[in-house]
């Protein structure tokens, strides 16, 4: 197992290198000019060119790439073209809101979706199952920003229970921190809940047909015990896989959610950077997201061994 973990961690290095090459190359060939954005609408072409030179954007591809890779190897993600702040600092400023949003969303989604899927499988064909499936279809179909607006309207403006926007650091108390995260987490988690609930249901249905479940029933095991001890554990592998894959969904959804709820997170940082062609920031954030995704997949692979002892690495 240890050797496997080491191998997988080492395997992230070529993955990250390929990601780095792709990100840099794509940005290099993508149209757009940060110098023009910086210079503003009143700038002359000469001003734009001067700024481009001062930013080093006139240097050849290989020189820029080499310099960037060299800096990364020293732990330096570069400096934002626009803010003049280190990319690492900008990421540090933004990582807490995004991490908070994702953690709360994950907890919320798993807490709601797994029991929903289990119950739907248990009550397959009944109104409960139909309700869960309808909810899943609806959650899948309604875009995150629509859910966000509706939640803000009902719970912030109409009922005045929660704020419309913003983020409060957890260092200022768990209460205020949660107040700002509940609505965004529900909005972001709606698709995720639907996804996990459906997979849980499908996986549970398959497991519930197995002989050992029938045996458990014959031996007089209680319904709760059958569902949550015997069936759910054996249905967990595909559920955990979907949760892992869903992290990518969360990362994408966070971009929209953070905009709708004005949360100063990594998603908004990414969008702002892309619109302005702030190359060092885009590269830094994409690398970070890739790393997180690779890491999440590793954790998921390791979790398989917990749920299914037959799996060995």
């Amino acid at each position: 197992m240890f050797a496997y973990v080491v191998r997988r961690v080492l395997a992230t290095i070529p993955v990250m290198a390929i990601v780095a090459l792709f990100v840099f190359s794509l940005l290099y060939i993508a149209p757009g000019d940060p110098a023009a954005v910086i210079a503003g609408d009143q700038a002359t072409p000469e001003d734009v060119e001067r700024i481009r030179q001062s930013l080093g954007l006139d240097r050849p591809y290989l020189v820029r790439f080499g310099s960037w890779v060299f800096d990364i190897l020293r732990g330096d993600l570069g400096v934002s073209i626009f803010t003049n702040l280190p990319v690492l600092t900008m990421i540090q400023q933004r990582v807490e809101p995004t991490l908070s949003l994702m953690v709360v969303t994950l907890i919320l989604a798993i807490t709601i979706a797994v029991p929903m899927g289990v119950v739907a499988a248990w009550k397959v064909g009944t109104w409960v199952d139909n309700f869960v499936m309808s909810f899943a279809v609806l959650s899948f179909s309604v875009p995150v920003f629509v859910v966000g607006y509706l939640l803000a309207y009902i719970f912030a403006l109409e009922l005045d229970w929660l704020p419309v926007q913003g983020y409060t650091s957890i260092s200022q108390g768990v209460g205020p921190w949660l107040e700002n995260l509940i609505l965004p987490a529900i909005a972001l988690g709606s698709v995720y809940i639907a996804l996990i609930a459906r997979i849980t249901r499908a996986s549970m249905l398959e497991v519930l047909q197995q002989d050992y479940i029938r045996t458990a029933r014959a031996k007089g095991a209680g319904q709760r015990s059958i569902l949550f001890l015997h069936a759910l554990k054996n249905a967990a592998v595909p559920i955990v896989t979907v949760i892992g894959i869903g992290v990518a969904l969360l990362i994408g959804g966070a971009v929209v959610t953070e905009s709708v709820f004005a949360i100063p997170g990594l998603g908004r940082l990414t969008v702002d950077a892309i619109l302005r062609r702030d190359y060092p920031v885009i590269q830094g954030v994409v690398l970070l997201f890739s790393f997180v995704y690779v890491l999440v997949n590793l954790v998921i692979d390791l979790l398989y061994t917990l749920f299914d002892p037959r799996i060995r690495y």
């Binding site: 149209p31 400023q93 905009s259």
Partner: protein, 534 residues
């Protein structure tokens, strides 16, 4: 569902609930009545008013850095940091005296050497500054509070240059900063002598920026008026909260989570107005001028007749309604290039934009101009509502004229890069793009880059019109207002004849604030002095 409908349905519906004035206070409202929470027009992505000339940077900078002069709402430059000036009889030597009590935020006094360094850094980035630099003989600090500027020929607009609202404004920084960073390199230390200081530690680009009252600032005795007069700050802190989504900003304003929203979109204004806790008014009487620019270097718009054909057919009403909707208070036709309602406004030569639109004339002019079906590369930034709206109208217009339109839907960053390319349209260049100009930049030719027609060195599109340039030179040399007006008549007529660009109309925007906020003044930028909160 289109954008407008969606915004109404998405966030705007909130106002229906709140329209009875039941908008309840937010969780934190009242916690700090000395803090003004402001939603700016855009993200404060950088904070060097010379390096980055975006309006949002200027607006924030006006709190932190002070100016030697400041224009009032009559566009008259009034002394601000200077006590006064003397000018030699030949108009070539200007001697300025700084007023006493000026201090930087680091506690150091503002000295003449700081002013000299700041002007020197500003000049290369500013059109008027470049003119001054070209005729400058000497700019020196005479003593701690006096500096002298010697010119090679008279420059009557000097005080205006130092006090205008157009970017880049000549802000005064400490010498050590102004000399350390050339004008094309961003500063890293934000020390000014303005009425508020920048709280750098709380700056999260893309999310928030904080400004704290500078207790040692000594305001002038006169009443504040735009950039002139006593800049008295009546709150302890101004917090900028960046909200890219207008629906979120609208909801936050209704909920009392923010106090002032700089530029609410027109679609949400009726809903804002229904909330009795919110006041709405025109933000800037100088408004904006919509524009599409044609590439004068290449076919088909290298032909004057073809450019005139577009003017003959275009309906400014179509453009304006696409931008501001059906609110007629927000727009007016503009048969000219200068800002309506200002002393220099003129419609000389603008007949081609008046009266019923004439598609037949346009087609005839196209034929006379030799148009033979070449593709028109129409670059339209889709991420800017104003450019997108204009682009859609233009594409339709050109097609009705019988032109072959190649509509390039892209974003503003790409437009910014592509418009700088002088290649032929079929080799990566372009034929036209859309933009708009702040009315404050278009009150006269001083900072009106977009109207210059000096060929290869002109703004994108590179119009070449000696008559326009002669008019501009005449304006700069004009000794009085009538002479300035005469020069502007000539510029307008010549620019319309040569179609330097196509003005699509004049439009205004709103600003909205909670009614417990008072003292908000109309102007080309949000002025925070005199604004209080109860």
């Amino acid at each position: 569902m289109d954008r407008r409908s969606f915004l109404r349905a998405g966030a705007g519906v909130a106002a229906i609930g709140a329209s009875g004035g039941v908008a309840a206070p937010a969780l934190s409202q009242g916690a700090n009545a000395r803090t003004l929470r402001f939603v700016p027009q855009a993200n404060l992505a950088n904070f060097d008013p010379i390096w980055g000339t975006q309006y949002v940077v200027r607006n924030a900078s006006a709190m932190v850095w002070d100016t030697l002069y400041g224009v009032d709402d009559k566009l008259d430059p009034k002394p601000q940091m200077v006590e006064g000036e003397t000018v030699s009889p030949d108009g070539l030597t200007w001697t300025f005296k700084l007023r006493s009590g000026l201090k930087f935020h680091d506690g150091e006094p503002v000295l003449a050497k700081d002013v000299v360094a700041s002007i020197t850094r500003w000049m290369p980035r500013d059109p008027m500054g470049q003119m001054l630099r070209a005729i400058q003989k000497e700019l020196v600090a005479v003593d701690d509070t006096t500096f002298r500027w010697v010119l090679g020929r008279p420059y009557p607009k000097l005080k205006y240059a130092l006090g205008k609202t157009n970017t880049p404004i000549c802000f005064i920084m400490p010498e050590r900063i102004a000399t350390k960073f050339d004008p094309f390199t961003q500063i890293t230390e934000y020390v000014g002598s303005g009425p508020m200081r920048f709280v750098q530690g709380e700056w999260v680009p893309g999310a928030s920026a904080v400004f704290a009252k500078f207790d040692q600032y000594v305001p002038r005795q006169e009443a504040a008026n735009w950039l002139s007069g006593g800049k008295r700050i009546l709150v302890d802190r101004v917090e900028w909260k960046v909200m890219p989504d207008p629906a979120t900003a609208a909801a936050a304003l209704q909920n009392g989570e923010v106090d002032w929203w700089e530029n609410p979109i027109s679609d949400l204004i009726p809903l804002m107005r229904r909330n009795r806790n919110i006041a709405v008014d025109i933000a800037d009487p100088l408004g904006n001028i919509g524009s599409f620019r044609m590439n004068h270097l290449h076919a088909p718009f290298n032909s004057k007749k073809v450019r005139q054909a577009v003017l003959a057919a275009m309906s400014q009403e179509d453009y304006m309604r696409a931008i501001v909707g059906n609110d007629d208070a927000l727009w007016k036709p503009l048969p000219g290039f200068f800002t309506p309602g200002t002393p220099g406004y003129t419609e000389a030569g603008g007949d081609i934009l008046k009266g019923p639109r004439n598609l037949d004339l346009a087609k005839r002019l196209l034929a006379e101009g030799g148009y033979s079906g070449q593709p028109v590369i129409c670059v339209v930034a889709q991420d800017q509502p104003i450019t997108k709206a204009q682009g859609d109208i233009t594409a339709d217009l050109l097609k009705r004229m019988g032109m072959n339109v190649d509509f390039i839907a892209t974003d503003w960053g790409t437009t910014g890069q592509r418009r700088a390319m002088k290649n032929p349209p079929d080799q990566g260049g372009w034929s036209m793009f859309h933009t708009w100009h702040a009315g404050a930049d278009c009150v006269n030719p001083a900072a009106y880059n977009a109207l210059r027609a000096n060929g290869q060195t002109a703004w994108f599109g590179w119009p070449d019109s000696p008559a326009v340039e002669a008019g501009v030179n005449e304006w700069f040399a004009a000794p009085d207002a009538p002479a300035e007006k005469a020069a502007m008549d000539k510029i307008n007529a010549a620019a319309m004849d040569d179609v330097v660009y196509a003005p699509t109309g004049f439009f205004l925007g709103y600003t909205a604030w909670r009614r417990n906020v008072s003292g908000i003044a109309k102007g080309p930028l949000p002025f925070f002095w005199g604004v209080s909160k109860s």
